[in-house]
């Protein structure tokens, strides 16, 4: 019934970038991490953030997802300033950090149940399917301290499968994964992008994803972020 208005809003959404960053400046311990950093992230775009160790990749991601507010500049989510639409933004964004958010005393299933419910209602079947897909079949009910770091990472990958977020913010998601895990995540990123989702990812690994764009953060000598 409400087809027309919803069509129109969808059109507007494809016109404004999902995430727009203007003149971002961040300083930590009296060292400028980046300044005049501007870029746009469109729907379906996969943006790899590159830069040496200590160049501020993690800081940038934490700023973009609202965990760090030590910055100057404008960040817009679908054309709205981040500060004005925190709830909508958190609804549409999924962050996977260095610390994967997996409690060691809980089982993968219990961990997922909680982190999933912070965002949406998930059924037991969905959860089992997601755990099987990330290769944790048979480990659903073992406590996480018996699992390896790579398996912890896989638990957090299952969050990607269960999420409906448009934007994935992934901080070094490949570090602990094995070869098959890496291929799996690359495919996952590709599929997400095909469905119109966007991905911000930091990694030192050469990503095999179609239509990949890159943003390089310079260390000191190259403060201007350049989009290639």
């Amino acid at each position: 019934m409400d087809k027309q208005p919803s069509d129109r809003t969808e059109q507007v959404e494809t016109l404004t970038p999902l995430l727009a960053v203007d003149d971002l400046f961040c300083e930590r311990d009296e060292r400028v991490l980046f300044q005049n950093l501007s870029f746009r992230l469109a729907e379906g775009q996969v943006l790899q953030i590159k830069g040496g160790n200590g160049s501020g990749k993690t800081t940038l991601l934490r700023i973009l997802c609202g965990l760090n507010d030590n910055y100057q500049g404008l960040i817009r989510w679908r054309g709205e300033l981040l500060a004005n639409c925190v709830e909508k933004f958190h609804d549409g964004m999924l962050y996977l950090g260095h610390r994967v958010g997996v409690s060691k005393v809980l089982t993968p299933r219990e961990n997922l149940l909680w982190s999933g419910h912070l965002h949406r209602q998930i059924s037991a079947d969905e959860m089992d399917a997601a755990l099987a897909q990330v290769g944790l079949q048979g480990f659903e009910d073992s406590q996480c301290f018996t699992l390896s770091a790579g398996q912890h990472q896989r638990v957090s990958l299952a969050r990607l499968l269960l999420s409906e977020a448009r934007l994935w913010v992934l901080d070094e998601p490949f570090t602990t994964l094995d070869v098959r895990g890496v291929t799996f995540l690359e495919n996952l990123i590709g599929q997400h992008s095909d469905r119109g989702g966007s991905v911000l990812v930091t990694t030192h690994h050469a990503l095999a994803v179609d239509g990949l764009t890159e943003l390089t953060l310079g260390v000191g000598q190259m403060p201007r972020g350049s989009l290639s």
């Binding site: 709830e87 909508k88 994967v100 997996v102 809980l106 149940l113 909680w114 949406r120 209602q121 409906e164």
Partner: protein
């Protein structure tokens, strides 16, 4: 996005459930504050005097101080593990208000660290020759007071969770805020023994609880944002 978005109640219940589950699986953390309370309270007769009269006189204060110290000891469990494994970040990036999620964590924490102390207090009180006729008041004040201690402590923990070495700083932040609760709690018990009407004192403690319930999670949430920053 779609209809499948979780409700606030769903997220709060999931958080409560998770924290209770973690407490259940880490039985050490569960019993530490409880054992601490019992140990401290039992040391007083040995240190001061085993005379029933002398004990009876100080028993209310002993119980309250032991409860305060035990709650302080238990506080560190509240956010630390979550901070270290990154769960805290997930909590903060949830679309639901952090206030309610922090409140859920506080409630779970009190259920495993505060409630057992309240429940065992009559037994310890009996051991300390606590004056008859004030048992129910004692339990009631602890029931109203320990959640306040928990909620106030959570502000301190939220502020210090990002620090590498905390040492005594948590106590330095939390204890001054806890003193009014201690005074109100012991005063209520002693006034009962003198035959004064209870309702006024209990109302003050109730007001403290309401104020802590409404304001402390706000402060904790703000402090957590600073700590994670």
């Amino acid at each position: 996005m779609s209809a499948a978005r979780s409700t606030l109640a769903g997220a709060v219940v999931a958080t409560l459930r998770r924290d209770l589950l973690i407490a259940y699986k880490r039985k050490n953390d569960l019993f530490n504050p409880f054992m601490f309370f019992v140990l401290v309270a039992t040391l007083f007769p040995i240190g001061i005097s085993p005379e029933p009269e002398a004990l009876g006189e100080i028993s209310a204060g002993v119980l309250w101080i032991s409860a305060l110290l035990a709650s302080l000891l238990a506080m560190d469990n509240l956010f630390r593990a979550d901070f270290e494994d990154g769960s805290l970040e997930l909590l903060m990036l949830s679309p639901h208000p952090l206030y309610f999620l922090v409140l859920a964590k506080n409630i779970a924490h009190w259920l495993v660290s505060g409630l057992p102390i309240v429940l065992v207090s009559p037994l310890i009180a009996y051991m300390l020759n606590f004056p008859e006729g004030a048992y129910s008041t004692l339990v009631l004040t602890l029931l109203l007071g320990t959640p306040v201690l928990s909620l106030l402590g959570s502000i301190g923990v939220a502020l210090t969770v990002g620090l590498g070495s905390r040492g005594l700083i948590l106590a330095v932040i939390t204890l001054p805020m806890s003193v009014p609760v201690l005074i109100a709690g012991t005063l209520t018990v002693s006034q009962t023994l003198e035959g004064a009407s209870l309702s006024g004192y209990l109302a003050i403690m109730g007001a403290m609880l309401v104020a802590a319930l409404t304001l402390a999670p706000l402060a904790s949430a703000a402090a957590l944002r600073i700590s994670v920053n």
